[in-house]
Amino acid sequence: MRPPASGSPPSDDPAPETYRDYLYRFAVLQLRDPHLAEDAVQETLLAAVTAKSRFAGRSSAKTWLTGILKHKIADLVRKQSRETPLADAIRVEAVRESDEFDALFRQNEHWSSPPRDWGNPERALENKHFWDALEDCATLMSPAVARVFMMREIQGLSTEEICKEVGISTTNCWVMLHRARMSLRLCLEQKWLGDGAGGA
């Protein structure tokens, strides 16, 4: 008996089903709709079973499944953008943003409470509390801000592509992304470092 060819999936490769919970959380983070997220995960797992032979251990099963799911999410987000355009919501958010940031800066536009040192980034990325906080904080972003942010940072679209899909100006897009990052980092400082846990 010869050992199996190195190109085939290892026999101890976990079944796609094992990743259902992870995939769901990945999907709901971006879609913000439990039913849509469930559907996207279901379709991903189905696609995975039919395409299993093509997987052949090129990457980890988790990375492979995430790749399939990302395509499904991109389609769904495109559909969401057509059905519930965010242009108006985003224009409102863009105006609101300047007020919200006022508290962060003093009259002379320097920090009133400066960002803290988060320590070694690699250690943060190994820290489970960091990921829990990131997930919670992403969920707290307003839907309009979150959609633009996820398109940019998770789906990796350029701002030009986002503008076209969502129907906003480039400037509004930059404002939204800045707002998203600012609110994320504020939230992370509270949720991740606020209780003294995590960090360097």
């Binding site: 919970d21 992870y22 959380r25 990945f26 983070l29 980890s60 988790k62 990375t63 492979w64 499944l65 995430t66 790749g67 990302k70 940031f101 962060l104 800066f105 002379n108 536009e109 320097h110 920090w111 400066p114 960002p115 803290r116 040192d117 988060w118 980034p121 943060a124 990325l125 489970k128 960091f130 990921w131 829990d132 990131l134 997930e135 940019r152 940072e153 998770i154 789906q155 990796g156 701002t159 897009c173 930059w174 992304l177 800045h178 990052r181 600012m182 994320l184 980092r185 992370l188």
Partner: protein, 66 residues
């Protein structure tokens, strides 16, 4: 010197477009003198890195109570 508010906006936009030479110089000079903005810069880099891991399926989204 440009303000912290302006620098944070530029740092964030630097993740989405190529900043002009004068913008880059302004940011760099400010960062040499401002601890808060240096931390802000590092925080945004970490957030981006985390999102890339997430997008690559390398994030430990372990089961929690929903």
């Amino acid at each position: 010197m440009i303000t912290c508010r302006e620098v944070t906006r530029l740092i964030s936009e630097g993740h989405d477009r190529r900043l002009s030479l004068s913008e880059r110089i302004g940011v760099r000079l400010h960062l040499m003198m401002c601890n808060g903005c240096r931390n802000f810069d590092a925080q945004l880099r970490l957030i981006r890195k985390a999102c890339q891991r997430l997008a690559n399926g390398e994030a430990p989204l372990d089961p929690r109570e929903r």
